[in-house]
């Protein structure tokens, strides 16, 4: 956490101590997720929670991870840096972490949804893809004719 460079042993001890530092925000967040999942099932409404907006200690992150766990889907996308999208062990609850091109965290979200939008092909991209495919095919046809 700090810029000082303790020896490996101190560093490991420190990391262990810090991993128990909590702000107490994990529990209410988990309840918020529960309410959101209720809503998703009842009326199909998606909820997005911005983890960057909450004071969150390493201990909170550990508690959240312990309870939510890892689910069936784990996708890494390369879009202007890495994006990590994974379904947690609670189906319908997704973790979305965006990183920049230097692999620094840009933003972190919990999305309560059947399918995060970012995973879907965007219409504009599909349109551009179609255009590209047509151009390549036209090139191919042109080459054959000559």
């Amino acid at each position: 956490m700090d810029c000082k460079q303790p020896n490996d042993q101190t560093s490991a001890e420190m990391a262990d101590v810090l991993s128990f530092v909590t702000t107490g925000n994990a529990r209410p967040l988990l309840h918020e997720i529960r309410h959101a999942l209720d809503k998703l099932l009842a009326i199909g409404e998606t909820t997005i929670i911005d983890l960057g907006a909450l004071p969150f200690g390493p201990g909170d992150a550990r508690e959240l991870e312990d309870i939510l766990g890892q689910g069936e889907i784990d996708a890494t996308m390369t879009i202007m840096g890495r994006s990590h999208v994974r379904e947690t062990g609670v189906p319908g609850v997704w973790r979305i972490d965006h990183f920049d091109e230097e692999d620094e965290v840009q933003s972190r979200f919990i999305e309560i949804t059947f399918m995060p939008d970012i995973l879907k092909t965007q219409r504009e991209d599909a349109e551009r893809g179609l255009e590209h495919l047509r151009e390549r095919l036209a090139e191919l046809e042109g080459n054959r004719q000559t």
Partner: protein, 362 residues
Amino acid sequence: MPNKPMLKDLMKTHGVSRRAFMKYCASLASVMALSPAMVPRIAEALENAPRTSVIWLSFQECTGCTEAITRSHAPTIEDMIFNAISLDYHHTLQAASGHAAEEAREHAMKEHWGEYLVVVDGSIPIKDPGYSTIAGISNLDMLKDTAAGAAAIVSVGTCAAYGGVGHADPNPTGAVAVSEIIKDKPIINVPGCPPIPVVMTGVLAHFLSLGIPELDELGRPKAFFGNAIHDRCYRRPFYDKGLFANGFDDEGAKEGWCLYKLGCKGPTTKAACATVKWNNGVSFPIEAGHPCLGCTEPDFWDNGGFYKPLSVPSGDYRRLGLAAVAGGAAAGVAGGLLAKATKAKAAKAHETVDAHDLEKSS
């Protein structure tokens, strides 16, 4: 400046996918502390953003704010947003200088009268206009002249927002903030010494996408300046438990405990340092082991010492300074008397405050 394409066209030219744009907008909303539900609105507005002309005026400043903002964009989509803005005048960054540069400013003003955005960094000296001039034009005249046709003004850095270091006691140049001079235009203050780069670009993006952001009583966007650093600090749990570092190399410092006793101004300083952080989210001063100096607050240079805990009364430093100047030969006597009075006042005012008392009063 050449006629620049809209962001949508730029994205297409550079092969940036819609998905990448959505990722950018999601991160931007997070940085702007806006609800993720606002993402589609931000995306739509940014895509259709007109190429707003921006005139950047640098007055009594150290160029730190410009240095900071240039660090905010590698060639990414943020860079494109900057390209989508037409930066028509910035005398540190533009190639032209002197009268040629001034012509560019005048041309941009004429072309976009009533619609351009003025960004100011640095304070304005009003004691003598000759203290700071550009191409023979005083800062005061240039500000008044340029602000007249502006849609809004962004005061970047604590100098432009509140006078900053130039305004620090005894303020030899009579430095004032933009808001002391311009009274008839919306002014957005983005203080900091310098401000976090992404906060500066975030405010500009907010202006482009959603207009003028909601401001606090000091003219700062609430999205970035809504919370005290203390409220978002990762060392806060140590504060709550009463675990403090008492020196920069004691056991507490080594354990990463709260820096309150070393003068940390986090409890009274509103800024996004603890959440947005610096250098692409790597760290911020408190994480590097140094107390917050409170650089986003007015008069932070004169608030009684960077390393004094907030619970120690700061004394009336400004008044002492003025007395010394006005008193001349009598300053010694007057200063002595004032010092005694101040000491008595401080002693009277001084209550030993511990972390729990402070918590109760906040």
